[in-house]
Symmetry: C2
Subunit: 367 residues, 2 copies
């Protein structure tokens, strides 16, 4: 969906972005009352391809466990929309897009993006699609931040909200991990100050290192132990070298290499920065509850016991704030050893929780 | 201390290293019975400068909290020795040393080092110093691995042992973090396959990224929150840029920059690898207790509640193994929010525990 100079995106950086476009996918059918729309918000390295074959990787949609026919977010029943976030690299305007002022990609001239900017862009898309009200907004991690921002910025447009494995604020430790990833990208001489597009170079090594480090934070120690332990890669004894002796090393290297094939390094900088900047309470006088005052949205907050990137404490803070303004909120902490990535995996309790919540909300909504 | 071809270091990689040398510091006075020696084993990026001004950084010794006159490891009473590990870069032979076969630095031709190699080298040093028996071996993290290896390899030479914030085995998660660090170094084009010495280049950017990532694992989330939180660096509002907006970013960048001034990138590869390879039970039929069968060494095992790099579970495994062979062991888990680095910091309970243990052991030893 393209927006011209008449519909600029007003960004927190103080820039009116125009022209700009937003790439999205839909699944299912919008009902006549236009009341069955569910917006799915993707995480840091996700995209709009929730439940279809990915055009770049050829892999299945990233949330087919949760979204699809007969799944908790049932595409036979709901009209599901997912848009690539602003600053991303799968079709929505971002640092790899052409800057009309120069005729070359923006690079670091692209304005720094915030979670609020992502939500503003999605709201403009929904306006254009003629969807005034969302039945539900759902997302995990950075997607969960967008869910919370939606509920705060546009409470009247959100009937139900499911923030999963997320927080209202990015912690110092999480900022620290992101900064290491950014420095890994920027340390790659092929990054060229963000202007790698000029001669076709790509900071693939730096971006791969960033992804490897981040990937560890998406898993739990228990998962790494269970999946890999100290097992060696295709051999009986260590090689006494710096080859990938251990399976976990080989796995991480593969994660890094696969990632750079599908993701833009500058987008990685921008989207990690957006998460770092996220501090919902700061916009409401430092009191998180104020973000939800008077909200009639129904919330279902989900966390996972072994998620050390977005620990349950962050979800509890959301629940406390919602309780403080007498909002409707249910909260489930799911027992799992799969870490932060649990929200993307086969977690029956997640499906039962979200499916049950959506069924009840649909009844309340008269769907 | 230099060793010639007559005293090669027999390394686990199958190499007889010669000539080689080991750099060390001593503090205090060896008594007439030669029975009051304490060996301090340093951690990954430590060195022999335990309790004196560091010759490169000009900073105070890295363990002056624990070691010195009147401290728990009392240099008025004990003869304290600390040697740079083999593979290190502060005087002991390592990858930056000249390879006599080529006349240039070893680089990656240096044999991969193990914790057992480090201990063998220390044992040869003690032989040369005429110290048959150690009153105590003490160390944290990789230093603690050496303590355990000492107790297993040379039980008759170790009267008391204090492994702190360590484990008998390096976990999959820890291998994963190390591998990211190594890949960060190797991704730096100035690393040049380990031959950066040829033209005076240094993979400083890659090594700095490695250090930044590792540094996060040495702290706890609570420490990062307490020390930095989301406070901004010398400004009132975020810059909407990729500058070090947050204090935690600035702090990490500084940690990376300071580290590359004092540490050799190849040594970093070798020493992380040594930790990855550490699996004490594997040398004893897979049963950790067998490593300590018949041991008369007195152990004091210490862990810290907020240490997620070497969690208390790893210390408990050591204690269980020692109990299984009826060894003398005391175990203290110290409540602190300072994370893995707690062993280097002002932790009164650590001083009380180690000081009390050493005082009792000294009485038992007749010191």
């Amino acid at each position: 969906m393209a927006f011209g100079a008449d519909r600029p995106l007003a960004m927190d950086a103080g820039v009116l972005l125009a022209p700009w476009q937003i790439a999205y996918q839909t699944y299912g059918t919008l009902n006549a009352a236009r009341s069955n729309a569910i917006l799915v918000c993707h995480a840091l390295t996700g995209d709009q391809h929730v439940a279809n074959i990915h055009p770049v990787t050829g892999k299945r949609g990233w949330w087919e466990t949760l979204v699809g026919p007969g799944r908790p977010v049932d595409t036979d029943r709901f009209f599901v929309i997912c848009a690539n976030v602003v600053g991303g690299c799968l079709g929505t305007t971002g640092p790899a897009s052409l800057n009309p002022a120069t005729g070359e990609p923006y690079g670091l001239d692209f304005p720094v993006v915030t979670v609020r900017d992502m939500v503003r862009a999605q709201a403009l898309l929904l306006d254009r699609l003629g969807i005034d009200n969302l039945f539900c907004v759902v997302g995990g991690s950075m997607g969960g931040m967008q869910v919370l921002q939606w509920a705060a910025s546009f409470p009247e447009r959100v009937f139900a909200a499911i923030p999963i494995a997320t927080a209202c604020i990015h912690s110092a430790q999480n900022i620290a991990f992101h900064e290491v990833g950014r420095q890994a990208v920027m340390a790659d001489p092929d990054w060229r100050g963000g202007r790698y597009f000029v001669d076709g170079a790509k900071p693939s090594k730096g971006l791969a290192v960033a992804r490897m480090g981040a990937h560890i934070t998406y898993l739990s120690e228990a998962t790494l132990h269970r999946k890999f332990g100290r097992r060696l890669q295709d051999r009986a004894a260590p090689t006494f070298s710096f080859d990938a002796d251990f399976q976990v090393e080989s796995y991480l290297r593969y994660q890094g290499e696969a990632f750079v094939e599908r993701f833009d390094a500058n987008s990685y900088l921008y989207l990690t920065r957006a998460m770092d900047y996220f501090d919902l309470a700061a916009d409401y006088g430092g009191v998180l509850a104020n973000a939800f005052t008077g909200s009639r949205t129904r919330f279902c907050v989900v966390s996972f016991t072994s998620d050390w990137l977005f620990p349950t404490a962050g979800s509890r803070a959301i629940v406390h704030a919602l309780n403080a303004v007498a909002a409707s909120v249910s909260f489930v902490e799911i027992e799992t050893d799969k870490g932060h990535d649990a929200f993307l995996l086969d977690e029956p309790e997640l499906f039962a929780t979200t499916g049950g919540f959506l069924a009840a909300a649909a009844r309340a909504r008269g769907l």
